[in-house]
Symmetry: C2
Subunit: 221 residues, 2 copies
């Protein structure tokens, strides 16, 4: 489903060039659930952003379901992203002036899902992350872990083909972290969702099919 | 050093009242290093915000070095906070239009520390968190864990009497998480810094003097 060929990503600030990723060669099959681990700053979020069509590589190409997606114009890129991909961001990116319910329904609006069905799917997703009591809260009225769970609910509400999760349990106690992993395992098992999860938690990574390790922008054995 | 007597905190949204903390009775002695653990949403950040004079309790009183601080006018409260307290926020709260160096020096500006000494202390703090190579970066050019480390450097740069850390290793790999714990242990041992750390990581909590557990806003055995 995913093929990365010789991917490189360089960032430039005024003074420094950072090679965030180099020589990335990667194949992930439909329905696989893989983890990505590695030290802080080694390129994990950068890799996930490229997979999620949120960023373009400096070199190399990215085939998603056989289609070369890193060269798409931004309108087509956004369309592909909205239809196929769910993303749990490391810093959540909730919309501050929308309440929990309205934040979670956004992916369904992009797909033109009808109002009745949206209400049902949003309620279901919020129930899965145990936040049904907070539907009318605004993000700044939630704890850190509750914000993370809203981000999770939003990413899974449309049952996307490809789910990208950037440290989805970082702000959660171990019990809630296990609950979140159960949700991801269930999506993978029952809906064949392909999942790429960045995590610092070896305990959670061991529950997935494979662990890829990044170091200084490269995949290592 | 810290005495909380019958502390309660209630939040009200349009529809729901949340009793985030109730009947909190707590004494922490100068130089102690304690952890606070508990499920997502149980009141940990709320408790830390009250300890850090960022929020006032709905009931009860807070004595800091024998002084009743929850009743101080906001100007005096800010003064006490700037002089005595360092805070590592769960969501970092870095200033987006200041680079790393300028973010870290802020507590020293509040204390009127001279330029030469500020440069030296900032360099030392950034070296401790292994970010010397990123001094001119802006927060949005940093990884999640690098942002967390800038927040840590800023909180420790002025060697505060009281350090409040809200999940300081949540975005860090286990190796960097251990390095951060070493920094905190060192401050505690060499400078008698009183430290209250919220964490979801039992492994890190075990390195501290005591673990307090919160559940549904109450301290439990
Ligand atoms: N401004 C607010 N308005 C309404 N409710 C709030 C507000 N801030 C926090 N709460 C609620 O108070 C409770 C405690 O929040 P707090 O941030 O202290 O939790 P926490 O223990 O730090 O959780 P986490 O581990 O997820 O960070 C939560 O249920 C939260 O929804
Ligand atoms: N916009 C940017 N400009 C310059 N450098 C950047 C930018 N974004 C990221 N970087 C750098 O690229 C490197 C990789 O960043 P990335 O966010 O992928 O790390 P990460 O593996 O997700 O780390 P963490 O575990 O801390 O989240 C880091 O060293 C970071 O400083
Ligand atoms: Mg990251
Ligand atoms: Mg919190």
């Amino acid at each position: 489903m995913i093929e990365l060929n010789d991917i490189e990503k360089a960032y430039r600030t005024e003074r420094i060039e950072t090679i965030a990723l180099q020589s990335i060669q990667l194949k992930i099959h439909k329905g696989q659930f893989v983890s990505i681990m590695g030290p802080s700053g080694c390129g994990k979020s950068t890799l996930l952003n490229i997979l999620g069509l949120l960023d373009k590589p400096s070199k190399g190409n990215y085939l998603l379901d056989g289609q070369a997606v890193n060269q798409l114009p931004s309108k087509k890129s956004a369309q592909t992203r909205n239809q196929k991909i769910g993303f749990i961001f490391q810093s959540f990116h909730l919309i501050p002036d929308l309440n929990v319910m309205d934040n979670v329904e956004i992916p369904l609006l992009y797909r033109g899902v009808g109002r009745q069905e949206r209400m049902r799917l949003v309620a279901e997703a919020l129930d899965r992350v145990q936040l049904s009591a907070r539907v009318h809260h605004y993000p700044n009225q939630l704890s850190g872990g509750q914000q993370q769970r809203v981000a999770i609910a939003r990413a899974i509400v449309g049952k996307p083909e490809l789910l990208l999760a950037d440290e989805p349990t970082g702000n959660l106690d171990s019990h809630m972290g296990n609950e979140v992993m159960d949700i991801l395992k269930e999506l993978n098992r029952d809906h064949q969702t392909t999942i790429v999860m960045v995590t610092h938690d070896e305990h959670q990574a061991k529950k997935t099919d494979a662990i890829l390790r990044l170091f200084d922008g490269r995949l290592v054995a």
